[in-house]
């Protein structure tokens, strides 16, 4: 029976993936307006960053406040290598990813053994350094005004110059990103990472190398950011530091949180929701607050982030899942609750972060 259930689950997963691919394939046929299609390309690019961030936040229990920097390293890496040194886009993307991985490794190796705050802070610090670097190295990066002339993405002789071809390229990467993340999560490594949430002590006593896996997840998540950055650079063909600052990092975290941390499809919803919200706010806020300046939407992002984390810590997908589980649990009376669970829940083990972890 067990095997059957697993097979059924896999079957559903397959169907979902095929449906997803079909949807992605059909969209350019339905949406011919390049503005909308361009937005969907951006959703794809952001999704790659956010899938990586979700792996880190949901499975390693850590948050990065500097993912925009990894995104920026990918973009500037690809841009500089292709423009200044005439590299082909694909090797440039790989080289940028490698540099980003190294940077992430150094940051992760020094902070992932420590409590959660340290990675948050170190990534934030690294983000600030990278941002300053982009701004100050005027000879190399063009400083605050950036540089242009980044070539279109090419593979072999194939040039991705049209909106539609770039759309397919980006969503191919999204698909690879989803599948890779899904595979990691479904493997013994994903299980081990989830086990760390349950009991880090017990996981260690089963021989799970927690620190090693956390570093690996962090590096993978940074590489996701870098690849997305490369795709962005070849898409807009012009880059300046502003999309890679602290605010962008916060927006990525917001997208991840809204989508649901420990989920792989969540990021797509999260990114789409935040981008739609941005459009909505741009339309609505000037009516309500005519004096509001350009960055007003950040207020709402901040408040939404707070509200989501307090009331719906599992994000959109998590919230729906919880509701579904509660519904189906209410329907089946067979669930036994453990009488010994209650006292542990009352003891402030989770709240006293400093003492329990």
């Amino acid at each position: 029976m067990k095997q059957k259930e697993r097979a059924k689950k896999n079957y559903f997963k397959c169907i979902a993936q095929i449906l997803f691919m079909l949807m992605v394939a059909v969209i350019p046929l339905l949406i011919t307006n390049t503005y909308y299609l361009g937005n969907i390309v951006l959703i794809g690019i952001y999704s790659i960053v956010v899938i990586g961030l979700c792996l880190l936040m949901g499975y390693a229990g850590q948050v990065s406040l500097g993912h925009a920097a990894f995104y920026g390293l990918g973009a500037y890496g690809s841009g500089l290598l292709t423009v200044n040194w005439g590299w082909e886009p694909l090797p440039a993307m790989l080289a940028a990813a490698l540099i980003t991985a190294l940077v992430a490794y150094v940051i992760g190796a020094s902070t992932l053994k420590l409590r959660e705050h340290y990675l948050a802070l170190a990534t934030l610090g690294a983000g600030v350094i990278v941002y300053i670097f982009f701004n100050e190295q005027v000879n190399l990066t063009g400083g605050p005004s950036g540089f242009s002339g980044i070539p279109y993405f090419t593979i072999g002789g194939w040039v991705f110059s049209s909106e539609v071809s770039y759309y397919y390229l980006v969503w191919f990467f999204v698909f690879v990103a989803v599948v890779f993340a899904r595979n990691v999560v479904d493997s013994r490594i994903g299980r081990a990472l989830r086990a760390l949430h349950g009991s880090e002590l017990a996981a260690a006593c089963m021989g799970v190398p927690a620190y090693k896996y956390k570093i690996q997840v962090f590096v993978v998540s940074a590489v996701y950011g870098s690849v997305a950055g490369s795709l962005y650079a070849h898409y807009v063909t012009f880059i300046s530091p502003s999309p890679f600052g602290f605010q962008a990092s916060v927006e990525f975290v917001l997208m991840a949180a809204i989508g649901g941390l420990a989920s792989i499809w969540g990021p797509l919803f999260g990114v789409a929701a935040v981008l739609m919200l941005t459009e909505l706010l741009r339309a609505v806020v000037p009516i309500l607050l005519p004096t509001a300046g350009g960055e007003f939407e950040i207020i709402f992002f901040g408040l939404i982030l707070v509200a989501v984390m307090i009331f719906m810590p599992g994000g959109l997908t998590g919230g729906v899942k919880d509701w579904w589980v509660r519904r189906s649990h209410a329907a089946s009376p067979g669930t036994v609750t453990d009488p010994d669970k209650a006292p542990e829940d009352i003891l402030p083990s989770a709240g006293s972060g400093r003492l329990s972890k």
């Binding site: 259930e5 990691v184 013994r188 299980r191 949430h197 006593c205 021989g207 799970v208 690996q216 453990d338």
Partner: protein
């Protein structure tokens, strides 16, 4: 062959000496029980052997090599694992997933290979799954593999801890009060399970308050009191030892 040797092991917590100059050893294939009143240092001893805390002085050897002060993860890699008196299940996971984490070290494929579904990853997953299922069968929990771990009744959660540890196929298992909270029937079945472990190649070190079970399954008993070793011997020796009886066992147990 001596599997585990503990020599003059000492650990203080502030002004309290939780484990004080303790000596004992465990032979391969044995079931050794550690008994003693609450606060005797039994759990600290387990924490020392499994690497959860480091010794202040003295040594712990495993197959002749020093393991005192290694991390739990390294000690697990050598083939030693444990269960926990205050259950440490992965509450966020299903029963079988809990046990599959126990079989984690069966796998060798890293994150890149897993992400790319490299050839061999699926076979590895299958082997981990079947190992977990047979471990569940061993402790008598088949048919519940898809339940969330936290909905199991208390006694079964204890069995799940043992299943998870056994999935690692350890050479030495440390069982920390496995019978706590179990009824008579469950305790009897647990006794049979523990007694059978050496035949599967797993040596047992057991902390337990249920004297009936200890006297039935243990080959040798070490008695601790206030962190120090009070006595050591076969169950018969211990039952006849006047010192032990006055210190701990008392009449109510028998």
């Amino acid at each position: 062959m001596t599997l585990l040797g503990v020599n003059r092991l000492t650990r203080h917590f502030g002004g309290v000496t939780a484990v004080n100059f303790v000596d004992f050893h465990v032979e391969q294939g044995e079931i050794v029980a550690i008994i003693g009143p609450n606060g005797a240092g039994k759990t600290t001893l387990f924490n020392l052997i499994s690497g959860v805390v480091s010794p202040d002085s003295g040594s712990i050897t495993y197959k002749g090599a020093e393991i005192g002060g290694l991390t739990p993860e390294k000690i697990a890699a050598l083939g030693i694992t444990r269960t926990f008196q205050n259950l440490q299940l992965f509450r966020n996971m299903s029963v079988v997933e809990n046990v599959m984490v126990g079989a984690h070290r069966r796998g060798k494929k890293g994150m890149l290979q897993a992400g790319l579904r490299w050839p061999g990853v699926a076979a590895e997953e299958k082997s981990i799954y079947s190992r977990a299922m047979s471990s569940l069968e061993l402790v008598g929990l088949p048919g519940k593999e898809n339940y969330p771990a936290e909905v199991l009744p208390y006694g079964e959660q204890r069995l799940l801890e043992i299943a998870r540890a056994m999935a690692m196929e350890p050479e030495l298992i440390l069982l920390d009060e496995p019978a706590a909270g179990m009824n008579q029937g469950e305790t009897n079945r647990l006794g049979e399970l523990v007694a059978g472990l050496p035949d599967m190649g797993t040596t047992v070190l057991l902390v337990e308050h249920n004297m009936e079970m200890v006297m039935t399954v243990a080959h040798r008993i070490v008695v601790l009191d206030h962190g120090s070793k009070l006595a050591e011997g076969t169950p018969e020796d211990i039952q006849n030892d006047a010192q032990v009886i006055s210190a701990y066992l008392g009449e109510e147990v028998f």
